[in-house]
């Protein structure tokens, strides 16, 4: 999708942000195209959340410009923020149920009254909370994360921003969210920006990456770039055929650069043991 349609839905040009003498962002320039799953990578404190705050208008940037869905004026920027669904932590009234919270946000977002009930049922089912009736204060962290993502996708936004959506989740929860993110892009056509400091997790989710380091986007790369970085071919054979494979390759004049046993990943092992799926 991102290869065929490169219309920029979010663009930051030289965005800087300072808190007194502390420069958090030192000229962030990035572009997220329609249909991307854009992974924002960086260690804690690198400036990922601050970038989101700039996009969402929760913090004013010192210099630079932000454009959402082609906005060129401040008024358009405010209007186009309505096209964004976002999860940046738990934003809920704890004394209300998850459903009541979603009803509140659905009304506030201006979803037509006659569509609210169906929309909430759809969202709760998507995030797997359709049977939960208790107030949010009784939710586990994972349930709050799911509800937060549910709130983000209410009304089927064009752009979805997820800030560390897998923070504090168990392996099943992480896998579920990864699966959901792909589904939002593939089935609902959303453009997704997702941040994490867990590189392995993001690598499995996103198709473009912005590496945030010292307040700038140090590099923007794609999944393809990651493949090209290591131009060797991996050939897997079973242990029983190993000797035979060596002979065949040697006879054909093919050099074996490296040989090693492939380990099963902890994630695969975990899911094999307890059931469930990673993808």
């Amino acid at each position: 999708m991102s290869n065929t349609d490169t219309q920029a839905v979010i663009r930051l040009d030289g965005v800087e942000k300072s808190y007194g003498k502390h420069h958090v962002l030192k000229g962030v320039t990035m572009q997220v195209n329609k249909g991307d799953i854009y992974g924002l990578v960086g260690k804690n404190g690198a400036g990922k959340t601050t970038i989101f705050k700039m996009i969402l208008g929760l913090s004013e940037f010192t210099t630079g410009s932000v454009s959402i869905a082609g906005s060129t004026t401040k008024k358009e920027l405010y209007t186009n923020r309505g096209k964004i669904g976002f999860f940046v932590g738990s934003n809920f009234y704890n004394y209300l149920t998850g459903k009541a919270n979603l009803e509140y946000y659905a009304r506030a977002k201006g979803i037509p009254r006659n569509e609210i009930k169906d929309e909430i049922s759809r969202v709760l089912e998507l995030v797997g909370l359709q049977d939960v009736k208790q107030p949010v204060k009784g939710y586990s962290l994972g349930m709050k994360q799911r509800l937060g993502i549910g709130n983000a996708i209410l009304g089927n936004p064009e752009i979805l921003i997820l800030d560390e959506p897998t923070n504090g989740l168990d392996p099943q929860g992480i896998a579920d969210i990864r699966h959901m993110v792909r589904r939002f892009r593939d089935e609902y056509g959303m453009t997704v920006i997702v941040s994490s400091h867990i590189l392995g997790e993001l690598e499995n989710t996103a198709d473009r990456f912005g590496i945030v380091h010292n307040g700038v986007i140090a590099k923007e790369i794609t999944q393809e770039d990651l493949s090209l970085k290591r131009p060797e071919i991996e050939l897997s054979v079973s242990m029983d055929d190993l000797e035979k494979a060596r002979q065949v390759l040697s006879q054909s004049g093919i050099n074996i650069l490296k040989e090693g046993k492939e380990k099963v990943t902890l994630e695969d092992y975990y899911f094999e043991l307890i059931g469930g799926e990673a993808d």
Partner: protein, 243 residues
Amino acid sequence: MRNLIKADLCRILKTKMLYVGTVIAVAVLVFTILRSLTSAGRNATGYMSGLNSALDGFIFPVVIALPVFIAVFSHELTSKSMQCILGHGLTRGKLITSKLLEAAILLAGIFAIIMIAAIVLASPEYSISSRQMTNGIIAIWLRALRFFGYICFSAMIMFIANSTSLGIIVCVAFTLVLRIGFMALSRLGGIEVYDYTIDGLLDWVYKSIEAGGPGLQIIPVFLYIIAAVSITIIFFNRKEFEF
């Protein structure tokens, strides 16, 4: 903005405290008027005296102003719902204005019920003139405006200090303590500060209207409220939101 007000009102109207407060307020009104009719005579003077006593008492602020403030604002900072609303493109000024309008709508609803109760109690047997009844109704709505003023100032403090507890404490102070303090200052120290507070100005407005005057002292009351709202918006515009 309209969507947010609708959404908030749907949420806030589930707060039981508001209903309990309104029922207590109406009960206090009925009890005070009936008691006054018994002690001061079953006439217009007894009725008006009862109505004014009920409105001036300390029960109304506790059961109306405080619950409205708590219902509208008490979960705003902890829920971080404001971040969510702002992120969807509502301006900060509109957000603050929406919250205060919600408080105004709730107060209007509650005081409309109080007004209806007061009218129902105004039996023809007491010979209340239309002028007296009008004054009574004006007194009711001036009380609503007074509570709205308290709420605006409490909200301003809450947003500046980023503390719900402080907002509630200030609301209690405005509704109960400051009035007594300012009146004591006036009586004991001869310092007439009270007359220039929202409370004092609104007392002045009522006396002016009662005497057939235009009640122009209401202008500074609105200026106070506009100042409180403006300060809140200016501060809010510069606020950095945390997730």
